[in-house]
């Protein structure tokens, strides 16, 4: 798969309270959650981002609560994928289980400025930052995770068995 979009940059330890604050968790409707995506990290994010854009995170992206509302909000907001230095464990699981593409790259975060465009090619395992003529490798996704994505998430995976 290929994801091309403008990058929104966030720092280390972006927690699920920042991605979708608990005050909005009285619903699990994707569109309602999307309206508050990243609100406590950047209140203007939702109004300024465009469908297909990409989030670049630092270390431990998605730490904190187990709320699947976090990847749901990001996906429903139209973000095509998240690239971070590292992901918190439950967020990582949730993203694969519900079908939000996420990738690990340490170098991208250091090299990129907010607003620059990148192309993430999950098949070749590369991220291209055309404006700076740079290419980075994505940490390979474990084969089981690839299977989960290919099957369309965890529920479809177990249904297929």
């Amino acid at each position: 798969m290929i994801f091309q979009g403008k990058v929104w940059k966030f720092g280390d330890n972006i927690d699920t309270d920042a991605i979708i604050p608990a005050r909005y968790l009285t619903t699990s409707e994707p569109q309602e959650l999307a309206a508050h995506c990243m609100e406590d990290a950047d209140p203007k994010f939702v109004t300024r981002m465009k469908a297909g854009d990409i989030i670049a995170g630092g270390e431990n992206f998605g730490c904190g609560s187990s709320r699947e509302h976090a990847p749901i909000a990001i996906k429903a907001a139209g973000i095509s994928c998240v690239v971070a230095k590292s992901f918190a464990r439950i967020f990582y699981r949730n993203a694969f289980n519900m079908g939000l593409p996420i990738f690990e790259s340490r170098e991208l975060f250091e090299a990129i400025q907010e607003g620059e465009e990148i192309i993430v090619d999950s098949t070749s395992g590369t991220i291209t930052l055309a404006s700076k003529n740079k290419t980075f490798r994505i940490n390979p996704i474990p084969p089981f995770m690839e299977q989960l994505i290919a099957d369309g998430g965890l529920m479809k995976h177990i249904a297929g068995k």
């Binding site: 330890n13 927690d15 309270d17 920042a18 604050p21 608990a22 005050r23 968790l25 009285t26 619903t27 699990s28 609100e39 406590d40 990290a41 209140p43 270390e59 431990n60 730490c63 904190g64 609560s65 187990s66 709320r67 699947e68 509302h69 749901i72 590292s86 918190a88 464990r89 439950i90 699981r93 949730n94 289980n97 519900m98 474990p142 089981f144 998430g153 965890l154 529920m155 479809k156 177990i158 249904a159």
Partner: protein, 419 residues
């Protein structure tokens, strides 16, 4: 090569004869937990997958504790959706209304989770049950749906970090201070994807309440699970509560660890985690003059009877500062009743406290104690992220019940020694 307790429990839930860190396994689940925030998504996924029957109605726990007593129409709708599902599938461990307690205090108290179990919960603090010598980890709602359907889930066997804690705990230093100190040392991702195994002479004397507080916050260091080797103290706690067999596991002497960290507990003082990370930890003597507007004593970390007893001891014949809103939350109905019988509620009322029903409430900025812009709270909870207890420009300081009580009295972050 030996195995850790975490590896052994995981292996016992598969058909495998050998297991090692990094391996991907499918394992049987003993108890699967959901709450009023996470269960609706799981139930929707269950229905979408044409689920007709849950794998075992006695192995699912649905606890409506976060926004209850329902704070608004949409939270009431969520609870109604879960209630209908729970009744349709005759879920044994369904709790709401006057039966509900904060899930991670309620499940151990009722003997629903036991030593040697493999527990998953669609709540990150499910790791609390490691205190009993169980493997317990937080997952997402889709994972919960998969377990409700099949009774199994995929896991990556984690590496383990061993913490060896020795030395007598100084006065006012509790399990909460130990875990805050550890998170301060290793950072919020210091145990990412790993198990935290707590051992040593201090641990072998530590009460179950303190162990539960510590295991509760393993996730705050990014860990998959926290775990305590079960012992006499475990037996005392579970014996009268268990209604089914349970099993004690222990790590082999030659088990492999990714790291071993030794800590001298006798050198510690009460700890405070400053905004906005649980790793932003200082000793209380170095806190400086931090004025507070609210003190919250409760939550799955520190809302047990032992916590309320410590706070009551400090509040006896003392009042909270008139500038501080003091909120006390007994974590379960049973704890509430115990506190009443022991006269603790009267002490809290005399101190000027609001006594909340058992609920997650203010801990996650849900209801029953939200902070306004610029306000500061000291809380015995486990997270102090931006906006955790209310306005994005409010602040949360994490500490033990003793520190939260003393701070409420003095109107600033303080130790009981200063009273």
């Amino acid at each position: 090569m030996g195995n850790t307790i975490t590896e052994k429990i995981l292996m016992a839930h598969t058909k495998l004869k050998e297991i090692s860190a990094g391996q991907l396994i499918n394992a049987k689940v003993d108890i699967a937990l959901g709450n009023d925030i996470t269960a609706p998504i799981a139930i929707k996924e269950f229905i979408k997958a044409q689920g007709k029957k849950v794998f075992d109605k006695s192995k699912i726990a649905l606890v409506l504790d976060h926004f209850t007593p329902n704070k608004d129409i949409s939270s009431a709708q969520q609870c109604k959706f879960i209630r209908e599902f729970a009744l349709e599938h005759k879920i044994t461990h369904f709790y709401e209304g006057g039966q509900v307690g904060v899930e991670h205090a309620l499940l151990p108290e009722k003997g629903i989770v036991l030593p040697g179990d493999l527990v998953i919960g669609a709540d990150s603090h499910t790791c609390t049950y490691g205190a009993l010598g169980a493997f317990a980890t937080g997952v997402g709602s889709t994972d919960l749906a998969a377990v409700m359907l099949t009774g199994e889930l995929w896991f990556k066997v984690p590496q383990s970090i061993k913490f060896v804690i020795n030395g007598k705990l100084p006065k006012w230093v509790s399990g909460k201070d130990l875990i805050l100190n550890i998170i301060g040392r290793i950072g919020v991702d210091g145990a990412l994807y790993q198990a935290m195994e707590f051992t040593g002479k201090t641990i072998s004397k530590l009460s179950m309440a303190d162990r539960l507080s510590m295991a509760n916050m393993a996730i705050e260091a990014g860990a998959k699970n926290g775990i305590f080797p079960p012992d006499e103290i475990t037996t005392q706690y579970v014996e009268s509560r268990a209604k089914r067999p349970y099993k004690f596991y222990s790590s082999d002497a030659d088990a492999v660890y990714s790291d071993i960290i030794e800590i001298d507990a006798s050198k510690l003082e009460p700890q405070v985690a400053f905004p906005h990370l649980p790793s932003n930890v200082k000793g209380v003597s170095k806190a400086g003059k931090v004025k507070i507007d609210q003190s919250l004593i409760g939550s799955c970390t520190n809302g047990r009877i032992e916590d309320l007893r410590i706070a009551a001891k400090i509040f006896k014949k003392r009042k909270a500062s008139s500038n501080v809103r003091l909120i006390v939350v007994p974590a379960t109905p049973f704890i509430y009743k115990q506190a009443m019988q022991e006269g603790l509620l009267e002490i809290f009322l005399n101190a000027g406290a609001v006594i909340s029903p058992p609920s997650c409430g203010a801990c996650l900025g849900g209801h029953l104690g939200i902070l306004a812009e610029g306000e500061r709270a000291i809380a015995t909870t486990n997270r102090n992220f931006v906006g955790r207890m209310g306005h994005p420009k409010s602040e949360v300081y994490l500490a033990s019940p003793a520190i939260a009580a003393a701070s409420a009295i003095l109107g600033r972050i303080a130790s009981p020694e200063e009273l």
